[in-house]
């Protein structure tokens, strides 16, 4: 499956989630699919999207919090998996769109083909792990993740690299992203 398609399917189901996005094409594709004030687009600071999401999830256990992450981002700051696994926010859904590549810089390969990120998450203490391979249907595993109330949940979705659709950059400036997201938190 293409990542864009996976994002469409997931975003359709995550309408009541705060969603933190890692940098690069994941941000842009999600913004194109459904831009909303509950989306936090982290355009820089690669590797820190789960840290941000964890901070919010811990402070607001009444909110559902998701991360749209990438394999390169997870690999860059794997300590996040350990912190999430230990602090165990029940309201935390970690979704990794794994294309085994640094897609935003020209599809150079990552090492996630040989490193099973879902097993690392499991060892770190995530409560539920789901993995969707390239030709599998995402819907049933996604439903199991959403039905699970005792997170943290880790959903790894293998997607095609080089899907060829370059999306536009995020149009909001960074402080607008902050203000918009915080206003959504108040509501």
């Amino acid at each position: 499956m293409k990542r864009l398609e996976a994002i469409e399917i997931v975003s359709e189901k995550l309408r009541d989630y705060l969603i933190f996005h890692t940098n690069g094409h994941i941000c842009r594709e999600s913004a194109m699919v459904r831009d909303r004030k509950e989306n936090f687009y982290m355009i820089g600071s690669m590797g820190l999207a789960p840290s941000l999401a964890l901070g919010t999830a811990l402070v607001r256990p009444d909110k559902k919090v998701a991360v749209y992450d990438g394999d390169g981002s997870v690999l860059m700051n794997m300590g996040n998996l350990a912190m999430v696994g230990v602090l165990k926010p029940k309201n935390f859904l970690h979704i990794v769109f794994d294309n085994e590549a640094y897609g935003s810089t020209g599809d150079q390969r990552t090492i996630s083909r040989d490193v099973p990120l879902e097993k690392i998450a499991q060892s770190c203490g995530y409560s539920l792990i789901e993995k969707v391979s390239l030709n599998e249907d995402l819907r049933a595993p996604l439903e199991r993740c959403l039905a699970y109330r005792e997170g943290p949940v880790f959903l790894l979705i293998k997607v095609l690299s080089s899907d060829g659709n370059a999306c536009a950059r995020i149009q909001l400036n960074p402080s607008q992203i902050t203000d918009r997201f915080m206003s959504a938190m108040m509501g």
Binding site: S45, S51, A53, P174
Partner: protein, 167 residues
């Protein structure tokens, strides 16, 4: 409350932090900050982070959710924090207070602290993080300076702590 720490400068700083409304604490330890961390562990929920930029990310998420966060670190952590500050906090106007212990700053110290000790303040200046090198008796005023930057300008600020100040 740890009885042996009640009269300490670390407790003084803790009380000032509470007066200013700080209510989320994370970081990576330094021996210069051990008393403050001990107090935070006893009084608050202090979250040990695995790396300094990750502590900054965590604190930033807490800010988005309405908290006033503090990140503790040693100045060696400035190295891995530069990108988080430059491409997240400063441009997104997500202000956090950093309390940074200064290894190798105007003192004899181990070789691994020489270069960072000499360049910490310059690095902060270069990326535009306001800071105060605090001194005995100056804690209140220096913290207020940082709080003003955070609250009025929404800029992350750093309180720099020399050896011996906080125990």
């Amino acid at each position: 409350m740890p009885a042996n720490l009640i009269q300490t400068e670390a407790m003084h700083l803790y009380r000032l932090l509470k007066e200013h409304g700080f209510n989320f604490f994370t970081g990576v330890p330094c021996s210069f900050l051990s008393e403050l961390i001990e107090i935070l562990e006893a009084q608050e929920s202090y979250i040990p982070a695995v790396r300094e930029d990750q502590a900054i990310g965590l604190a930033s998420g807490a800010y988005l959710a309405g908290r006033k966060p503090v990140v503790l670190m040693q100045n060696s952590g400035i190295g891995v924090s530069i990108n988080a500050l430059a491409s997240l906090n400063l441009i997104y106007k997500i202000p956090i207070l950093m309390i940074i212990s200064m290894r190798g700053y105007q003192i004899q110290d181990a070789p691994e602290h020489w270069i960072m000790g000499q360049t910490s303040t310059r690095l902060l200046e270069d990326i535009g993080v306001p800071y105060c090198v605090t001194s005995p008796g100056g804690l209140e005023e220096d913290l207020r300076f940082c709080v003003d930057e955070i609250e009025k300008e929404r800029i992350s600020a750093a309180l720099l702590v020399r050896k011996g100040l906080l125990g």
